[in-house]
């Protein structure tokens, strides 16, 4: 699902950022769960793009279907009133390997 413009009064911000998957096992069930939980209360539309496939990041099934291994590059697109905060939380979660040990 691509981010679409909403005609609401609140400021619409669209942010795009590229991140690297650092987890050894890639974006498997546990990180995918963490992502969906982070986005649970986000008011923005969030999409992940990997290898020309773009999916709704709020869907755990869709994230798993990306089959993103370690060192994959993911383009995150956040579009909505809380885009800033949402993007920050996502990027730091990716950086912190979603709390998984990473040796």
């Amino acid at each position: 699902m691509l981010p679409n413009k909403k005609g609401k009064g609140s400021p619409q911000v669209k942010l795009v950022c590229k991140v690297k998957v650092k987890n050894i096992q890639g974006l498997h069930t546990r990180p995918a769960t963490a992502i969906v939980k982070i986005l649970q209360n986000s008011k923005s539309d969030v999409a992940f793009t990997h290898k020309r496939e773009t999916v709704n990041a709020k869907s755990i099934l869709s994230i798993l279907l990306l089959a993103a291994k370690k060192n994959s590059l993911i383009t995150i697109t956040v579009d909505g009133e809380d885009a800033d905060e949402t993007m920050n939380r996502l990027v730091s979660a990716f950086d912190g390997c979603f709390g998984e040990m990473n040796k």
Partner: protein, 589 residues
């Protein structure tokens, strides 16, 4: 193995007596059966709602499991369950499936199944085996959702063709309750105990029912003629000319016998030496009251109030309950009615109260225990009954009391309900009798204490037997141990009746034992003055009462109390009944 035109003779366990002849119809015999049907555009939103409820129940279940694991500090398990939770709430499975249901107008199971299949195909195309394997978790989640859907999915037995012999793996009480008796000749299931609620409803409706029949390989006999002998537990598929003739004759004799009995509805229910017995009816749905009037019953001895609402999946508010009870009381035309408060839990689950994952629900939070925890619900029912009481002769019965304190607590809530109505100026009858069910051994043993604080007692033999003998009445492995003639059961009934007669309050026997004419003399001999049975059993029990004498009945009871085994007692009762009513071919066979 099975050949299409050879007579197949099967033997199961008889649940409901009578002879059924009809065409074999199989309900979902396959293990992974996914129902697939079109949904009316008007009903599509309720189908969406049914799906949403299954998801909610799935989430509730995971939540409970998570809390349990948290307590046990199994964090890894909690994490896995968190993933399951997120999968259940995945927009592809929530909004996605809901929209597909709306667009395709097909049932939730089918749409959900197709959706899962679609993602299974997509996962199977992932090259990396590690990610391909992730589908297993989704499969696990989808199985749970499907099972919750199936629970709420009810095969409408009302839509079945005429003269069907219904074969199913299992039947719920609600399914049987909805069955159209004019269309269904018999029920046959693989599982289901003799005293399950489905069995009680089948008996009350007079539908022959045989269980413990394995369905594997029988499906090809769909549409074949089937004969069910609910007396012996025999089932014949593709019966020979000879078998058909034999059963057609038995059926005819039974019909004549029953017609004779029901013609005597105006006769008094008393022994031929003048001992009067009150013969009342157990009722689940209001329409059954007609039969009670037709057969000349004394009133309703047990109104199982939860049945009217079970199929709704939730309890209606006080006002709706009031309307139901008032209609019920008015239908009684002045005859007394005993309303038993909701008996929920155990094997009667309400989908609005998610399974609390009890490992032993039969011994768990059911009946009065449930009501004392859900006080608002309990009080709303008591208020509704109180309000309906001005339209007739109403008594209230508390189910499954096991200690005096429970009776006190229940009565306290009853008084509060009275107070509230009094303050609000809502009229109600001031002399409502209050009684409690004696269906737990602890209650039987303290029946003297309970009798002092009640206006009447009611013995529920089904549960009393199950709890006394520690035999789960729905467990097939031990169904042979469920013996109503066990000396301990007879002694308990004797104990209760003695105490109650001593206090001078009435006692009713309202379990299945009361509806079995072979027990009638014994119960009268033990000192029971009132029996309550499903309306359609009134003629046969009245006949048993009228054929008996209280002198012989007392002697029989004394004799029974000297016997040491269930078998001996059963044989004696069979023999005594045969002597009294030799032409009853339902029970003498």
């Amino acid at each position: 193995m099975t050949q299409k035109d050879v007579e197949i003779h099967l033997k199961g366990i008889s649940i409901s007596r009578g002879i059924g002849i009809g065409k074999a119809v199989f309900l979902s015999p396959e293990k992974e059966y996914i129902p697939n049907f079109k949904v009316n555009t008007k009903e599509v939103e309720s189908e969406v709602l049914r799906y949403r409820r299954a998801i909610t129940r799935g989430c509730d279940e995971i939540n409970l499991l998570q809390n349990q694991l948290k307590k046990e500090k199994i964090t890894e398990g909690v994490d896995i369950l968190e993933s399951y939770m997120q999968m259940m709430q995945d927009p592809l499975l929530t909004v996605g499936v809901e929209n597909s249901i709306r667009q395709s107008c097909r049932n939730a199971e089918q749409v959900f199944y197709e959706t899962i299949n679609f993602y299974q195909t997509r996962f199977s195309k992932i090259i990396d085996p590690f990610f391909r394997e992730r589908f297993k978790d989704i499969q696990d989640v989808s199985k749970r959702i499907l099972s919750f859907l199936k629970e709420s999915y009810r095969v409408s037995l009302a839509d079945i063709p005429e003269e069907s012999v219904v074969f199913a793996y299992d039947l719920t009480a609600i399914e049987v309750a909805e069955a159209n008796i004019t269309k269904i000749s018999a029920f046959i299931t693989t599982s289901g105990g003799i005293s399950s609620h489905a069995a009680i409803v089948a008996k009350a409706k007079g539908i022959p029912y045989v269980t413990n029949i394995h369905l594997e390989g029988l499906e090809i006999c769909s549409d074949a003629i089937a004969i069910v002998d609910g007396r012996t537990g025999e089932v014949f598929i593709n019966p020979s000319e000879e078998t058909i003739l034999r059963y057609a004759n038995i059926k005819k004799t039974l019909g004549i016998h029953f017609k004779l009995l029901s013609d005597c509805s105006s006769n008094r229910s008393e022994t031929y030496d003048g001992y009067h017995v009150k013969l009342s009816a157990n009722i689940e749905m209001s329409h059954e009251v007609n039969l009670l009037h037709e057969y000349g019953g004394h009133g309703v001895g047990l109104y199982r109030s939860e049945y009217e609402f079970l199929s709704l999946g939730k309890f209606p508010v006080e006002e709706e309950q009031f309307i139901t009870y008032r209609r019920m009381v008015e239908l009684m035309q002045g005859l007394p009615i005993v309303i038993r408060t909701f008996d929920i839990g155990g094997d009667k689950q309400m989908s609005c109260y998610p399974n609390k994952l009890e490992t032993n629900p039969i011994m768990g939070c059911r009946a009065i225990r449930f009501l004392l925890q859900e006080r608002d619900l309990f009080k709303s029912q008591l208020r509704a009954i109180l309000r309906a009481s001005i339209y007739g002769d109403v008594s209230i019965l508390f189910p499954m009391i096991s200690a005096l304190s429970e009776l006190h607590e229940a009565k306290q809530i009853f008084y509060e309900a009275q107070e509230e109505l009094l303050h609000a100026g809502v009229p109600f009858s001031r002399n409502i009798s209050i009684g409690c069910m004696i269906e737990v051994p602890s209650a039987a043993i303290i029946s003297d204490l309970l009798a002092k604080e009640c206006d009447f007692l009611s013995i529920g033999t089904n549960d009393l037997i199950q709890y006394s003998l520690a035999v789960d009445r729905s467990n097939q492995l031990i169904s042979g141990l469920y013996t109503p003639t066990h000396p301990s059961v007879i002694r308990l009934i004797k104990l209760i009746v003695n105490e109650v007669n001593h206090q001078g309050i009435p006692v009713t026997v309202c379990g299945e034992v009361a509806a079995d004419p072979r027990f009638t003399s014994l119960l009268l001999g033990l000192g029971v003055h009132e029996l309550s049975v499903a309306p359609r059993h009134i003629p046969i029990i009245k006949n048993a009462i009228r054929s008996a004498s209280i002198v012989d009945a007392t002697a029989l009871a004394e004799k029974v109390l000297t016997l040491a085994s269930a078998n001996e007692i059963q044989e004696l009762l069979n023999e005594a009944y045969y002597q009294l009513v030799p032409d009853d071919c339902i029970y003498n066979c």
